[in-house]
Symmetry: C2
Amino acid sequence: MTKAELKRLTSYKHEKYRNNDNLFVVEGVKMCQELLSSNYDLIAIYANEEITDRYQVTIITDEELRRISLLSTPNKAYCLVRKPQSVAIDYDNCPILALDGIKDPGNLGTIMRLADWFGVKDIVCSPDCVDVFNPKVVQASMGSVFRTNVHYENLQHFIKSLPDDFAIYGTVVENGENIYQSKLPPRGIIIIGSESFGISNEIQALVNHPLTIPRLSLHLNKPESLNASVATAIVLSEFKSASLRTNKK
Amino acid sequence: MTKAELKRLTSYKHEKYRNNDNLFVVEGVKMCQELLSSNYDLIAIYANEEITDRYQVTIITDEELRRISLLSTPNKAYCLVRKPQSVAIDYDNCPILALDGIKDPGNLGTIMRLADWFGVKDIVCSPDCVDVFNPKVVQASMGSVFRTNVHYENLQHFIKSLPDDFAIYGTVVENGENIYQSKLPPRGIIIIGSESFGISNEIQALVNHPLTIPRLSLHLNKPESLNASVATAIVLSEFKSASLRTNKK
């Protein structure tokens, strides 16, 4: 690798330089394989051994990999990928998921993996959510970043623009409808609030189906809440299992 | 603070010194308040302002706090706590949760918070799980570390020693019983496998009720799995909601 190339790749540790070149970084053999089986536009692969015979791989040393890698323990392969063009939201694939101020990269990645598992196609993020191409988000998604469409929108405007027959579900820690005892018609949007503040007031005002996961704790009023990705897991599981339960033994 | 004290507290960044003195560290105002309302044995509080009038607080400077803190952005308060004595497992509070090789501190902390939410009292960890008093586990638990009993046991021996009428549930990615269509009598233990390898072979051999969360993805065989804490969320939600659903509208 030339010095200039090493310098350019190292610069991609910073969001600014990735954005300038409209690309993001994918690391690790497994994640790079997920990438190669996606329709994402690969710019270049750098690895310390041949990991594919379908694309040209630039072989680099362990030391070069260590220098360009964003991981504390780099794993063999590093890919540069062009950011995808935005696609239209599929209003017929419901529920849609909306995230209001999710800041933790691990949470966003985990939520994408979960959405992917349950067949959710579109995730709408408020502009203050963490960037979906943040390297920690990409890694935590375990490849689901290539299979879910993430959109950044002013949530208030977006929700107001939804079709009239859309239900606006929102998860609240207390005083919502018990999620286990609610009918959950899928045509709608599920809003998940931020780790620290829940759903913001102006968005909460638009919710017409507040949902609560009942706290069955042995301790009064504790814990105060569930982790955002864990709450999303329970809510999506409830929506997606409703049709399967009709056969419940 | 004397130099010797500063040095001693700084040494507690290392597990070895915490173990030598049989204590662990709790940081942040909110977590310290959770601690003060628990029955855990407080050794000392260091803070840059008075945060309680019930205990003696050693006032320290921001710089001192920065030096002893394990957090990248220290938050006002730092407590030393004695590790709790081990308590007996309550076999009448079911299901019990067992973790087989959970290595990620965030996952263990999140699972404790979830167990706390759903009224699970005991979590049995294989010896290769991350230490429950690892600072990242303590922080991710958001105080639930004070309200759940975590035991480290040889899981194989432990499971074999369970009462005969205990069901041994295990989560598997494929070919288990559809969790949404299974009766889930709570008297039993639920085994959650490691992030990378799932349930180990010798433990899997003891499972008599394998459970699978159906993958409803739009993509064939993708994603390969769910995050361990998210899978635990869905499984616990199913067990704990069974009795609530009898009233489902």
